[in-house]
């Protein structure tokens, strides 16, 4: 790592503090690059793994319209993965790595994907809740990251956030239909909310308390992110608790309350030990989804080989 008193490092920090956007070929400290690779490869691979829980509902969607809409959302998520993996690859290029290394890291468990995408989706309501609340949670994090100091990531997110707006409405539309439906449909939605609630709280990561981890501190100093996990979770609660309640749904946390003066939410902590197990690929559907991803990666290998052979001779 470069000494932090080097001229290059100081000039870099001046750029960061000025609010400059850093570009792929600009000089950057090694740990800035490492933090970005860590964050963006995890985000990118989560988009791709995130298409899998919903994909399970493509063949079983209740109407043709719903089937087409959920297929479009699944395609969007794969597209988000493609953009982000390109951003990660440009950062990894000086280290001689590319997307094949990312896939390898995913299969060996070195590269994690978001906790929410390890969960089961047993009912159609889960497809709705993912769009409404999981994408809703994601847009809160991604909205923050629009101000990320790394230009290519921020530009990718500008595109992604625009599409997330569609995803949320797609999810809201499914949930609204169930909420206005029969008692059985309402029950299905309520049960889905109960299933997803702890995972939604976990989505933002453990609360920091008074102590920021080294990673977190670096990300804030480098303006890779501007808010803590807990700040993001509080934003999510402020936005979604009233909406969830307005549909007559009961959030499975009797201790949930907002301080009328400070506006801070009190909530029952999810099981953070379970969170660590889940992101270490020991969640309910972790192995099944990794298996599917690995199988389709291996079965697609010959296609990539054939495509590579069509490369025109270098000019």
């Amino acid at each position: 790592m470069e000494p932090t008193d080097s001229l290059q490092y100081q000039q870099f920090m001046e750029r960061i503090n000025r609010g400059d956007r850093i570009e792929a070929e600009d000089w950057m400290p090694d740990d800035y690059r490492q933090q970005l690779i860590r964050l963006i490869s995890m985000h990118g691979i989560s988009e791709i793994m995130g298409a899998l829980p919903e994909k399970e509902w493509v063949p079983k969607a209740p109407t043709l319209f719903r089937k087409l809409a959920i297929m479009a959302k699944v395609q969007d998520e794969m597209g988000h993965g493609q953009l982000l993996i390109r951003v990660a690859e440009d950062l990894m290029a000086p280290l001689g790595k590319n997307r094949e290394d990312l896939m390898e890291d995913l299969f060996t468990g070195r590269l994690k994907f978001h906790n929410v995408f390890h969960m089961a989706t047993p009912t159609w309501a889960d497809a709705g809740v993912i769009g409404w609340l999981v994408d809703g949670a994601a847009i809160i994090t991604q909205g923050m990251s629009l101000s990320c100091s790394y230009g290519p990531y921020a530009r990718a997110l500008a595109r992604i956030v625009e599409e997330e707006g569609f995803h949320i409405q797609h999810g809201e539309s499914i949930c609204m239909e169930l909420a206005e439906g029969t008692p059985v449909q309402r029950q299905m939605l309520q049960e889905s909310l109960e299933r997803w609630w702890p995972a939604l709280l976990m989505f933002f990561g453990p609360p920091e308390g008074n102590q920021l981890s080294t990673h977190q501190q670096k990300n804030l100093d480098y303006k890779i992110r501007s808010k803590t996990n807990e700040e993001l979770r509080q934003k999510f609660l402020t936005k979604y608790v009233p909406r969830i309640r307005s549909l007559g749904l009961v959030i499975p946390d009797p201790t949930l309350s907002q301080d009328p003066v400070t506006k801070v939410w009190q909530y029952a902590q999810p099981d953070w030990t379970l969170f660590r197990q889940i992101v270490n690929n020991q969640g309910p559907r972790s192995q099944a989804r990794l298996g599917l991803r690995q199988m389709s990666y291996q079965e697609g290998q010959w296609v990539r080989r054939v495509l590579a052979m069509t490369t025109p001779a270098a000019v």
Partner: protein
């Protein structure tokens, strides 16, 4: 694996309206220009449509960035914009109301 697959990065540009410029969107990884066009269309035009789509191999782009511009923008060159010529509007209004004679302005020069 020894036979690592290597594709190229293509930058993607989309023109949305006949009178608009091609705008840079993002980039894709592809084995050929044809594949880059397919991916570019799927990734960047599937909602908006397009009147034209360009893909350019990244290696073919020559560029200048911030460092190259330093020293080139020191002088305020207002004559390159209409900034310096704003006073003309007032002059035209003045002479519409008080046309010049063949000798020139009626009271010598106009007040600016």
């Amino acid at each position: 694996m020894s036979d690592a697959i290597s594709f190229d990065v293509y930058e993607v540009f989309v023109q949305l309206e006949p009178m608009s410029a091609h705008q840079h969107q993002f980039n894709v990884l592809a084995s050929s220009p044809e594949m880059a066009l397919e991916l570019g269309y799927e990734n960047f035009c599937r909602r908006t449509g397009a009147v034209s789509l360009w893909v350019v191999k990244r290696d073919a782009i020559h560029k200048w960035t911030q460092d190259n511009f330093s020293g080139k923008e020191r002088l305020a060159k207002t004559y390159r914009t209409t900034e310096d010529y704003k006073y003309l509007k007032d002059k035209w209004r003045h002479y519409r109301e008080n046309p010049m004679t063949q000798e020139g302005p009626r009271n010598g020069r106009t007040a600016d």
